[in-house]
């Protein structure tokens, strides 16, 4: 059964700024859905509409089949974790966590039990008598999550909860959140602009851009089959390489021409059925250095080395092709040592793994073919 259902939801600010348009989404019980997209894409507004902190201009919101679009937050049975924690500074950790239950006049014994369970899950039992000002950033975020879980709501809403934490703590909290979701099993909607966070946490990802849903799918689906150029370049790190050019059919031979380069489509290469103007996307891992004897051939891209980014387990090679930058990932040890010896401006050949090509229309939207 659908736990949350959004029907044709729109939001317009000041009668002229369209922030969201025509949002339709079904989220089932227990799902962890991540709303992801660039800044200003409308993801936080969508979360605030679900929370009841904003009113939709058009459309309906159903929670467990009940229309809530025009109900106040308190009648929606949701809990929200804010980006900046939003803890009540004049209350202790325990008071912060149980405030919502006290307002709902839950019996004291039940409150104490729920507080005990939640603080144990989050490992904050020793902090219950402290004030928020006495806590570290990570502890504060745990308390904010604790405040949400003691309520046992129908929906958990997370508004970029990890973006204020440092990189290491963020990685730890990501794992904790994932484990927490598996334990609590409640429907969660999570907003982030960090595609890595989206990929690692989500059961399903909803990619938003310019106020519209671009794609809904599992992280693997969105990564392997991005619906358009926008999704393809947003999801994945490093960004997908994109070449605009012409696909030519000459007898049995297919060639993709972009700038001064021509890439021959070898056996096993995915290509569109018709010749024409296209955008070709190649992920960095599908574009590695070849072995010496066969790297210089027609199914390789010739490029000039610009920068080598050493990550330890791999090297990301940034190169230039006809004025455009392309990125390739090198993770095999002997190739890594070869690339380490190369200098800026060296000519390199990057063989293409033809089975994972992404073809898009050469239009502004750039839909996947």
């Amino acid at each position: 059964m659908s736990n949350l259902s959004l029907k044709n939801l729109s939001k317009v600010f000041d009668a002229k700024t369209v922030v969201l348009r025509g949002i339709n989404l079904e989220i089932t019980q227990g799902e962890f859905v991540v709303l992801v997209g660039p800044s200003g894409c409308g993801k936080s507004t969508l979360l605030r509409l679900i929370a009841g902190l904003e009113q939709p201009t058009e459309g309906e919101i159903f929670i467990d089949g009940v229309s809530v679009a025009h109900k106040p937050p308190v009648e929606r049975d949701i809990a929200m974790v804010f980006q900046d924690y939003a803890l009540y500074p004049h209350m202790t950790v325990a008071e912060n966590m149980t405030f919502g239950l006290k307002i709902r006049k839950v019996p004291k014994a039940v409150i104490a039990e729920k507080l005990k369970t939640a603080s144990k899950i989050l490992g904050i039992e020793s902090l219950l008598d402290r004030k928020p000002s006495q806590l570290s950033g990570g502890q504060r975020q745990r308390v904010a999550i604790g405040r949400a879980i003691v309520r046992e709501p129908k929906l958990f809403l997370f508004d970029e909860p990890l973006s204020n934490l440092d990189a290491k703590l963020r990685a730890d909290m990501r794992i904790d959140l994932s484990a927490l979701h598996q334990r609590v099993g409640q429907t969660s909607i999570y907003v982030t602009h960090d595609q890595q966070e989206a990929m690692t946490l989500a059961d399903r990802i909803v990619v938003l851009d310019k106020g519209e849903i671009q794609q809904v799918g599992t992280p693997i689906e969105v990564y392997n089959k991005p619906a358009n150029v926008g999704v393809a370049t947003f999801i994945g790190s490093p960004t997908m390489n994109l070449f605009t050019g012409e696909l030519l059919f000459e007898g049995n031979k297919k060639t993709f021409r972009f700038g001064d380069n021509a890439l021959e489509m070898g056996d096993g290469f995915d290509t569109p059925l018709k010749p024409g103007s296209y955008k070709l996307g190649i992920r960095a891992e599908d574009l590695t250095l070849g072995i010496p004897e066969n790297e210089k051939n027609e199914t390789s891209i010739r490029a000039k080395l610009l920068v080598k980014e050493v990550h330890g387990h791999e090297i990301q090679v940034v190169a230039e092709v006809g004025g455009a930058r392309i990125i390739s990932r090198v993770s095999e040890r002997d190739l890594m040592s070869r690339i380490t010896g190369m200098h800026k401006g060296s000519e390199i050949y990057l063989p293409v793994h033809g089975g994972n090509l992404h073809w898009f229309e050469n239009t502004q939207h750039g839909a996947r073919i």
Binding site: A79, M80, D84, Y85, Y88, P89, G100, I103, P132, R140
Partner: protein, 303 residues
């Protein structure tokens, strides 16, 4: 390769240089500190001298008030002026004290109750006339108080509240309210919006957000406003002088001027009364002072 002797010699030189520099730095710090203290002492003296002079005058006998001696230890000091002020005319001073206290306390309470509601609305809601309303409050502050006396007099008279404590409270609230609203709005503005949203999601109504989240967090601002409104009413002279004509309804500032007669002014009694007037205001300030601390919203959000 350096021998240990060389190393020792070099480190000694480096060490000596460091000591000398540190010594000069310490000296510089000390002279800056001394200069700061001198400046502070001069200004403290300017601020406190009149108060000290009044205190000394209050403790002097009538005949010693005009003594030209600057030796403060030479005088004959006693508390008899204070006793006289408190007991003269069947203890009328205590009645004025009571009037002043009732008026100042009620003005402060009414003013803060009204101002906090208005300030919350100005801080958090967007409504037609919001900006103009705020400008109007600021504009009112720019007029000299004396100009307001005539219109206030007409209003209070038409309400039949002349020569009454409630009339004076009404007038004082009117004059203290604009600044109180502006001041409290500033405090409410510092409370992060996400706290209010978290409270709404937790189940609070707008009234609940105001009373259980905003008010406790704006406590320093409320304490400052309380004190401001209290002092406004406590020290006010012109309006009280215009509105009150019965001696039993006087407040302390008009009561004190009964010591000024046509041909002589009883400075020793005026000074004693002046000291007695200052004390309750000081007590109120000391009581509110712990609340006037900043940083109550610390820890609420990342910032």
């Amino acid at each position: 390769m350096c021998s240990p002797i060389y190393i020792h010699a070099w480190s000694k030189v480096a060490c000596e240089c460091g000591v000398k520099e540190r010594f000069l730095l310490e000296q510089k710090k000390k002279s800056v500190l001394l200069f700061n203290y001198i400046i502070l002492l001069v200004f403290s003296f300017i601020a406190l001298f009149p108060l000290a002079w009044i205190l000394i005058t209050a403790l002097k006998k009538k005949e010693d008030v005009f003594s030209s001696s600057l030796n403060i230890l030479s005088g004959n000091y006693s508390f008899e002026n204070f006793v006289y002020v408190l007991t003269q005319n069947d203890g009328i001073f205590l009645i004025w004290l009571k009037n002043s206290f009732i008026i100042a306390i009620l003005t402060a309470l009414i003013c803060v109750s009204l101002a906090s509601g208005a300030a919350f609305a100005f801080s958090r809601f967007r409504f037609p006339g919001r900006k103009q309303g705020l400008y109007l409050f600021m504009l009112v502050q720019m007029f000299p108080g004396v100009i307001l006396i005539i219109p206030l007099y007409y209003i209070i008279r038409s309400l039949g509240l002349l020569n009454s404590i409630s009339g004076l409270i009404l007038a004082y609230c009117a004059s203290a309210l604009p600044f109180s609203v502006i001041m409290l709005k500033g405090f409410f503005d510092t409370v992060p919006k996400s706290l209010e949203e978290a409270a709404v999601i937790d189940g609070l109504s707008q009234w609940g957000v105001f009373t259980r989240i905003m008010m406790p967090l704006a406590l320093p601002g409320i304490a400052v406003t309380l004190f401001f409104a209290f002092i406004t009413a406590w020290n006010e002279f012109m309006i009280a002088m215009t509105f009150m004509n019965e001696e039993s309804q006087f407040t302390l500032p008009i009561g004190i001027q009964t010591f000024i007669h046509e041909y002589n002014t009883q400075w020793h009694l005026m000074s004693a009364a002046g000291i007695l007037i200052t004390l309750p205001a000081l007590v109120v300030f000391i009581k509110l002072q712990p609340l006037i601390i900043s940083g109550l919203t610390k820890g609420a959000t990342k910032s």
